[in-house]
């Protein structure tokens, strides 16, 4: 059912913890309409209940034992360690290269020794970290603002050494350069997708990558127009950046890009403000400047949550939720309705 994807994270959290007020509202509405998610939540609760939740506590300080082990082991000399691990493969690799060259010379080149030579060189080269070298070169290029050059160096390294221990990190850096620096969202979408598919461990450990891929997946059908619109506000000749961001919020209620636009609005007003305003003041200022009813409704929802949760001002929160319910379209109205119900 549409909307299952939006609530899946809230659903999982609800197995263990009471959701936040706005999330509870969204969850209640969805569970009221979706038997599949209701069943899933019930099964997860059964699963959690059937697994013993007790802890096994360590109960001791391991420092003395570990210090003793360190004292007993051979001195940790990085060069010694390098020799232990890489000497045999390096010597074997060199021997194969010499043999391959000899055979190549004798056979007049009919046997393709080049591939073996490359493989053997790679075996020796991996000891020096080709991807690590590429990452260092890319850092240098990026520091000189040659982000395209940095990306190319890393792409070549990942293509040649996909099995290198740092290849996943290089791939993540490629995706980040495409997104943050080059603003090539089509390319960023490809590279984050490649990161998820080919280097799942590196992808899964980085929440920024997960969030970005979700954002890009939402926006690719519209050719990332909303993202480009958000970027355009940084253009010094941009007429009215605030209005542009407001239009993005109005056109994309409840989506990742709307939250991005709101965050950029906050940043915009921070620059204009004297001193460091509180988030509530910023949101009030944004609300005052917005003219689009859907954008205002979204700001009202966020502001209502702030008044309720952080300032304990339920009267003001109720007022804001009521305004959001009236002006924001069906999806935002439903969220506002749930938020109001929570105040009762």
């Amino acid at each position: 059912m549409a909307g299952c994807r939006r609530v899946r994270a809230i659903l999982a959290a609800a197995v263990y913890e009471k959701p936040e007020a706005d999330e509870q509202g969204v969850l209640d509405i969805h569970l009221g309409k979706c038997p599949k998610c209701r069943e899933q939540l019930a099964q997860w609760r059964q699963l959690a209940g059937s697994l013993p939740a007790g802890r096994d506590v360590l109960g001791r300080d391991l420092v003395p034992a570990l210090r003793a082990r360190l004292a007993e082991s051979p001195p940790f000399n990085p060069l010694y360690r390098f020799y232990q691990v890489w000497a045999a493969p390096a010597f074997a690799g060199m021997a194969v290269v010499v043999l391959a060259l000899a055979i190549y010379a004798r056979t007049g080149g009919i046997w393709n020794g080049e591939a073996l030579q490359m493989a053997s060189l790679e075996t020796a080269e991996s000891a020096h970290g080709p991807v690590q070298d590429a990452l260092k070169r890319a850092d240098g290029l990026a520091a000189g603002h040659d982000h395209a050059g940095a990306m190319q160096v890393l792409q070549e390294a990942v293509a040649r050494h996909p099995g290198d221990a740092l290849a996943g990190y290089a791939q993540r850096e490629i995706a980040r350069l495409a997104f943050d620096q080059l603003k090539r969202y089509d390319l960023a979408f490809q590279e984050y997708t490649k990161l998820r598919n080919q280097f799942a461990g590196v992808f899964q450990e980085d929440p920024g990558s997960i969030d970005r891929l979700e954002l890009l997946a939402e926006e690719w059908r519209n050719r990332f127009r909303a993202l480009h619109a958000v970027d355009a506000v940084d253009n010094p000749v941009s007429d009215d950046p605030f209005r542009v961001l407001e239009e993005v919020m109005a056109g994309n209620p409840g989506k990742h890009v709307a939250r991005l636009a709101l965050a950029r609005m906050e940043a915009l007003l921070m620059r204009e403000a004297e001193g460091v305003p509180a988030e509530v003041s910023l949101l009030e200022s944004i609300r005052a400047r917005c003219t689009n009813p859907i954008a205002i409704a979204q700001v009202n929802l966020h502001l209502g949550d702030k008044y309720c949760d952080e300032l304990n001002d339920t009267q003001r929160a109720r007022q804001l939720y009521l305004e959001a319910a009236q002006g924001g379209g069906p999806e935002l109205a439903a969220m506002a309705g749930s938020a109001l119900a929570r105040l009762e």
């Binding site: 959290a13 209940g49 360590l58 980085d206």
Partner: protein
């Protein structure tokens, strides 16, 4: 230098620079969490202790490969998981296995407390632990870490987010993926 006051990343950077005092603080700060993950993946206190020690020493020796762009704890727990997997493989290859935990403790001269739990219950508990262990190993490192910290360690999702250096939203997504897979792997444990 007072290492206890350092934030996680600063402590890791001090370790990376080779500052000797940083090692003790690293062990004391993380040994509990590392042990929790190791125990859930080995289901055995002795093995969990071995894995914990091995993982902490490995982290010290391999700190050069940790990149400051990522959190230290996620890296350490991933290392722990790999150590646990290696340990389990080595355990399977051993020719002789102790009959049970009590036999191993007796042979080491430790006192064994009289059990107040029936044998059948203990066996069933062990079976469940073993099934969960196998299922956890099918999750990604982050998914299993989030699940272990939430379900077994009772940490709030917001605390897990701080520990892993990510957003609460991301923690929830990892938990969702973990529960989704565990539901399939362990269906017979909770269905009537």
């Amino acid at each position: 230098m007072e290492y206890t006051a350092l934030a996680d990343k600063e402590l890791a950077l001090a370790l990376k620079k080779g500052e000797d005092g940083a090692f003790d603080e690293m062990v004391r700060r993380y040994q509990g969490r590392v042990y929790a993950v190791a125990y859930r993946l080995t289901t055995n206190r002795e093995d969990a202790l071995d894995v914990t020690q091995d993982a902490l020493l490995k982290a010290y020796r391999k700190i050069g490969s940790w990149r400051p762009t990522g959190g230290f704890l996620p890296w350490l727990l991933r290392l722990t998981r790999n150590q646990a997997i290696d340990h389990i493989r080595r355990r399977k290859r051993r020719r002789h296995e102790p009959l049970d935990e009590a036999f191993r403790q007796r042979s080491q001269g430790e006192d064994i407390e009289p059990s107040t739990v029936s044998t059948e219950t203990a066996v069933r508990a062990r079976e469940i632990d073993e099934r969960v262990r196998e299922a956890l190993l099918k999750l990604s490192p982050t998914q299993s870490t989030v699940f272990i910290l939430r379900h077994y360690e009772g940490m709030a999702l917001a605390e897990i987010a701080v520990a892993l250096g990510c957003t609460v939203g991301s923690v929830k997504v990892h938990l969702f993926r973990a529960l989704k897979k565990l539901r399939v792997e362990l269906v017979d444990l909770y269905q009537d």
